[in-house]
Amino acid sequence: MSIEVKHITKTFGQFTALKDVNLRIETGELVALLGPSGSGKTTLLRIIAGLELPNPGEGEISFFDESVGDQHVSRRKVGFVFQHYALFRTMTVFENVAFGLRVRPWKSRPSRSEIRDRVEHLLKLVQLEGLAQRYPQQLSGGQRQRVALARALAVEPKVLLLDEPFGALDAKVRRELRRWLRHLHDDVGITSVFVTHDQEEALEVADRIAILNAGKVEQIGTPEEVYEKPVSPFVLQFLGNVNLFHGRTTKQYVRPHDVVLVADATGPDSIPAEVEHVAFSGARVAVMLKRKDNGTILEAEVPRERHLALGLHRGQTVYVDVKESRTFEGDYSI
């Protein structure tokens, strides 16, 4: 595999950012590190890059089965894209991308014309051909992001690491760029890891997702695996809205799209509820309900047809059936 992290622990003073973290990333994969803020995902990425040093001890980091834990960041050959891009403001786009080539030792430094060709090729790849002589300040957020990517790719890194690559962009540019990143990854084929707190982004772009919580990897798997077979309530809740039903001994978790609304009770398990609010979002309709028995709030997501058939409106009483629910061992209801 191309990146292996073993037994990494990192503390900042009193705060433990990572607790004995293990992670394996296969060659050519695009992996997302997903978690809420403070979960240690950025710290893990920075430790892989060598920008942060883990607590000394038995921890180990290797790229392509070769230990890099003792290597300084400048020797690890990682491409790192910073959250705020960290473009060199005193250099043009061209100089930014060429930087990594120009600082190479004299012997391995490409010639002037080779550097020019390489930079031009990369700028074409990130669709910024005409902007080589601009300064970063003169670019839009999305353009800066792509310059940062081209700059990281210019040194032909072994692995590409991206810290919240779309975090600072507005929603529309974000969606475009993440599709574009997926395509770029398929073209270039470089092992890549990116950090995000946006589950939608992780589900859409990544081959596999590692979900971090409080300094630990809770689960790692394909988007389908983590969404369909979450190993813990945390993973389930983090990957989307969820309703909580307190059963006799366990907690039952139900996704809004697994809640079925019917006009009349279908059996003893149907729960009467009052419609509080109906929100359209195109083909699906989100419904807020208040359970009549204990007053808790439920969320349901129903197809448009169902909504029309039921004629959902505020104050209406409907019955709630659960299509599918999840329970976790050791997660007892009080």
Binding site: F12, G13, G50, L51, E52, L53, H72, V73
Partner: protein, 273 residues
């Protein structure tokens, strides 16, 4: 100074090492000399030196004139900062720029030009005593401090709060007193204190306008220099010892002003949290 966290950026040991080395060479050893040397003075000699009539009168002149200058700068500086930030008038940018001149103009140059102005414009000398002249020069010396500390706060000030006060029926004087001034106060008072500290130590410009008559028109720095070259007095206390004692008091005054400033800064920040 222990390192708390290892960092990947290079040059920490080199830069901190050089900083501490240069700082020790330039500041710690010289200041240590002052402490060590003043340690050799007996308490009695120190006390009699700094309570000498001439010394007391020099402190009165230095502190009094500095206080007067700082107070006038406190009022005028606030006004200048207000006008420069809030009003637009022809030449505003030039006036804004020249506020820094007292920082940049060598003190000796300021001294001779003020001395010349007093000599050639006799009407200015209506109160022709040294207090008056020294205070005027010190106003020049301390002029930028209040303006430059208050100005950024006024610039960041959001007029919406003022409009809110206006909508609640407050008049302009009330708004300034109750809404604006409390916000400016920490910056303003530290500007006044900085101006005062600078004026107390000022030497170059003042010596050209004060008469340097012991007990009458001598400022503390003048007295220090005069004592420095005096032969030992009847008790065998050297001139250098005299100068050190007086200088030590001056240093303590500056350091306590610094301490008060830090306290103000701390308190005003706590207010924000």
């Amino acid at each position: 100074m222990a390192v708390l966290r290892r960092s990947v950026l290079p040059g920490f040991r080199l830069s901190l090492g050089y900083t501490v080395f240069y700082l020790s060479l330039m500041v710690l050893i010289p200041l240590g000399a002052l402490v060590v040397k003043s340690g050799t003075l007996s308490w009695h000699d120190f006390y009699t030196t700094v309570t000498d009539d001439f010394v007391i009168s020099a402190y009165k002149l230095s502190l009094g004139a500095s206080l007067a200058a700082a107070a006038i700068n406190g009022v005028m500086g606030l006004l200048v900062a207000w006008v420069l930030v809030r009003y637009r008038f022809p030449g505003r940018k030039i006036f804004d720029a020249i506020v820094d001149l007292p920082f940049a103009l060598p003190t000796a140059v300021a001294g001779i030009t003020f001395a010349d102005i007093f000599a050639t414009n006799t009407w200015l000398n209506a109160y022709g005593n040294d207090w008056y002249r020294v205070t005027l020069v010190l106003i020049f010396v301390g002029l930028p401090f209040v303006i430059r500390t208050v100005q950024p706060v006024l610039q960041d000030w959001d007029t919406e709060t003022e409009q809110a006060a206006m909508s609640l029926g407050a008049g302009p004087v009330t708004i300034f007193r109750r809404v604006i001034f409390p916000v400016l106060f920490p910056a303003w008072i530290s500007g006044v204190a900085l101006a005062f500290a600078r004026c107390v130590g000022e030497y170059g410009s003042v010596i050209f306008v004060s008469g340097n008559i012991p007990g009458k028109s001598q400022i503390v720095p003048q007295l220090i220099i005069e004592k420095l070259y005096l032969p030992p007095d009847e008790n065998g206390v050297t001139g250098v010892a005299h100068a050190t004692s007086i200088g030590l008091v001056l240093l303590l005054i500056s350091l306590s002003i610094l301490l008060v400033l830090n306290a103000i800064d701390y308190l005003s920040r706590r207010h924000d949290r």
